[in-house]
């Protein structure tokens, strides 16, 4: 949770008093180097532990992994960077690396990549390109994620849907397509009346057809990005590193207006009921029957003991089926005392050898396509069918990138407040989005 936030705040506050010395620990140059490496996902910790173990065996360079949850991760990294105690290698995200790179906190690895002849085309979805800013490279892709539908199998059967029906859903912002009909039909009020039947009581709903996950900022990556993107909408004038957001685009306004209408009709879990406990309890308690979610949570759904869940491809929109494909990468901090050894580690994480080890745990799709396919086989052997995420990643023209800009946290905070208000039915997208767009573009101008 967020206790550590306060701790981070306190420790950072100490900086205000003006102490900023120190250096990262670790051994001297030579055989006895210990690198520090940070990540946030505890589910992935065993995978990368086995990877770094193999690395140590191969090179003699020791690696110490520190893990802290996403909520604290970036503040810890920032504090560590300021105090000079940052890890040598950090697991990085496209929302954060531009700011760090812009402030000279990350090491440009392009010369290493060139010298060692790394094949950047081996990584799925062209993700390697996202880690280049102003000609400098700050990471090698380690994994990727896409978004697909998750549905409650029992609720779907009761509504008369088969897996085939879900595989062929369509959506558009005008009438919602077969997807719109599905979430209406899967909504049931306390008297057992379905959402598309006369007499549906939207104020006393037992199970909502669609589940609301709060958050998502300006992107709505797992929440609504797929619907907006399937209309041809693009977040930025240029990605990565566009200079203007295009949130006043009529297609985005139409998309979010459609969603708002579904909320008003009682087909979506209301914003306030979604509460602070998160998406998983909503689905496990059958408050919502269906949702879109990222592949990073495959195991959570597949191994749930409360309900049986299955995956389906995203609905096809007016311009086809589009998912955001995004991924993480290890970056080297500029303050590292062992840049050469840190590069060895980054190179190893980006290699088939490490990614196959990660694939064998089945928790995540490794960036190299062959390793991703291998991870899919591992899941299949465990009885988990998550093929749709892989199919979407490989589909021609079916992927879009996460919008990458500077000041991403500030942009997300601004946008989140407006998205909340739209979901609460307090403002309409038509009036709120153009104003938000102006504010965000003012932030990007700096």
């Amino acid at each position: 949770m967020k206790f550590k936030k306060t701790a981070a705040l306190l420790s950072a506050a100490v900086l205000l008093v003006g102490c900023s010395t120190g250096g990262s620990g670790g051994g001297e140059s030579g055989d006895d180097v210990t690198l520090t490496y940070s990540l946030w996902d505890e589910n992935q910790l065993p995978a990368y532990q086995s990877c770094t173990d193999a690395f140590t065996e191969k090179t003699g360079i020791k690696v110490e992994i520190t893990q802290s949850a996403w909520d604290d991760y970036w503040q810890n990294i920032t504090t560590d960077l300021v105090t000079g105690t940052a890890p040598d290698v950090i697991t990085d995200h496209v929302q954060y690396y531009p700011e760090l790179a812009d402030n000279g906190q990350l090491l440009d690895i392009s010369s290493y990549v060139e010298a060692d002849g790394i094949d950047l085309d081996q990584y799925t979805g062209g993700l390697a390109d996202l880690w280049v800013k102003d000609g400098a490279r700050y990471g090698l892709p380690q994994d990727w994620d896409t978004v697909a539908l998750v549905y409650n199998v029992a609720a779907a059967e009761a509504a008369g849907y088969t897996a085939d029906d879900f595989a062929n859903l369509t959506w558009n912002p005008t009438d919602g397509g077969t997807f719109g009909k599905a979430i209406a039909h899967m909504s049931i009020d306390k008297n057992g009346v379905r959402g598309d039947e006369p007499g549906f009581d939207k104020n006393n709903v037992q199970t909502y057809g669609w589940t609301l996950e709060t958050g998502g900022g300006v992107v709505g990556q797992s929440q609504w990005s797929w619907s907006a993107l399937s209309t041809g909408f693009e977040y930025l004038d240029k990605n990565p590193f566009g200079t203007k957001y295009q949130l006043d685009d009529q297609r985005l306004i139409d998309t979010l207006t459609w969603w708002q209408n579904q909320i008003a009709a009682g087909y979506v879990v209301p914003r306030e009921q979604a509460g602070q406990l998160g998406l998983v309890p909503e689905m496990e308690q059958n408050i919502g029957a269906m949702v879109s979610d990222g592949s990073w949570r495959i195991t959570t759904w597949a191994e749930s003991t409360a309900q049986e869940f299955a995956f389906a491809p995203l609905p096809e929109g007016p311009e086809g089926r589009v998912t955001i494909i995004n991924g993480l990468a290890p970056s080297i901090t500029a303050s590292t005392k062992h840049p050469d050894e840190a590069w060895q580690l980054v190179k190893f994480i980006g290699s088939t050898e490490c990614q196959n080890l990660v694939a064998d745990t089945g928790v995540v799709f490794p960036a190299i396509t062959s390793a991703a396919e291998r991870s899919d086989e591992v899941r299949t052997s465990k009885g988990i069918d998550a093929q749709v995420f892989l199919d979407e990643a490989l589909a021609e023209g079916g992927t879009a990138y996460y919008p990458i800009t500077l000041h991403a946290t500030e942009v997300n905070n601004e946008a989140q407040a407006v998205i909340d208000e739209i979901q609460e039915l307090k403002v309409t997208p038509a009036e709120a989005l153009p104003a938000l767009n102006d504010r965000i573009n003012a932030i990007l101008e700096g």
Binding site: L9, V82, Q105, G275, Q276, Q285, N413, K426
Partner: protein, 303 residues
């Protein structure tokens, strides 16, 4: 307190010089603490507020730009408004309930056990209170809504509804703090001479009347103290917001300290965060002075 008493004795200079070293010795720890923990951070705060420091790159002097930005930032004004609502609801309810409990404590002559029980919530950290109430008030699994549902009342998302959230936070913290406020009031009530009540009773005053005409006026100094102390604390509301709502939904609970924190430590806009902190400091300082003035804090009504 007559001015004549304040006149210095004629031989003041002589005893003063001999006492100065000793006095300084005794004052040193306090002065040192003040300099290190208050004066220097305040100075640095003002200094940072005039720069574009983002934690990661060296700061550059940008003059009053942060202050100019602040006046046109709708979220800054929203944060002040939300904080004001919080302070008014929190302090108002806390003072009234605290005073009520204190009077009851005196009237009912309750034992130390019960007195301690009233103080108990105050011993729980804010963060814990926030987490516990987050679960208790949850719209889906919360105990409070189960009870409301059972007795047929309508259920609410207390933290998740933007119309209720800030009031929920204010009242949750009132619940936590009112025992402490009550204890302070209770201590104040103990200092009122029983003779006054006896005299009032002989004159035929009702309990209600003596509360209005004796207890309340006699408590003026302690009321002023409680008001100032708890108002400063109340302005600093942060932890409950951080744990329970993250400033949302929308901007409904983005109180000023949380906004400063977000700007400074999430968005790495240290200079802007510092500018807001300086303005907040000036505000609280002014409010405290005005309050002490308005309540003529050093004297009670019946002198």
């Amino acid at each position: 307190m007559k001015p004549t008493l304040m006149k210095a004795p004629p031989n003041r200079a002589t005893w003063r010089s001999s006492d100065v070293p000793t006095a300084l010795l005794y004052l040193t720890p306090a002065l040192l603490g003040f300099a290190v923990f208050y004066a220097w951070p305040l100075f640095r705060g003002v200094q940072i507020s005039l720069t574009d420091w983002n934690l990661l790159s060296p700061a550059e002097w940008i003059g009053a730009a942060n202050y100019q930005k602040l006046f046109t930032d709708p979220l800054f004004w929203n944060a002040l408004k939300v904080t004001a609502i919080y302070v008014v609801v929190n302090i108002g309810s806390q003072m009234i309930l605290g005073l009520g409990i204190a009077v009851l404590m005196q009237r009912l002559r309750i034992g130390t056990g019960t007195q301690s029980a009233i103080l108990l919530p105050w011993l729980i950290p804010n963060v814990t209170v926030a987490i516990v109430t987050l679960f208790m008030l949850d719209p889906n699994v919360g105990f409070v809504n189960e009870v409301l549902d059972y007795i047929g009342a309508s259920t609410h998302s207390f933290y998740g509804n933007s119309d209720l959230a800030i009031y929920t936070i204010a009242l949750v913290n009132t619940w936590r703090n009112m025992g402490y406020t009550a204890l302070l009031f209770y201590a104040g009530i103990q200092t009122i001479s029983p003779d006054l009540y006896e005299a009032a009773a002989l004159d035929g005053a009702s309990g209600w009347r003596s509360f209005w005409s004796i207890t309340l006026p006699m408590l003026r100094p302690i009321t002023a103290l409680i008001l100032v102390v708890s108002m400063i604390g109340s302005f600093q509301i942060f932890d409950t917001v951080s744990v329970a709502t993250d400033g949302g939904p929308g901007n409904a609970t983005r109180v000023i300290y949380f906004y400063i924190y977000q700007k400074s430590f999430e968005e790495l806009n240290m200079g802007y965060g510092a500018a807001m902190a300086v303005v907040l400091f000036a505000l609280i300082f002014t409010f405290s002075l005005l309050q002490l003035r308005a309540l003529r804090a050093t004297e009670s009504d019946v002198n």
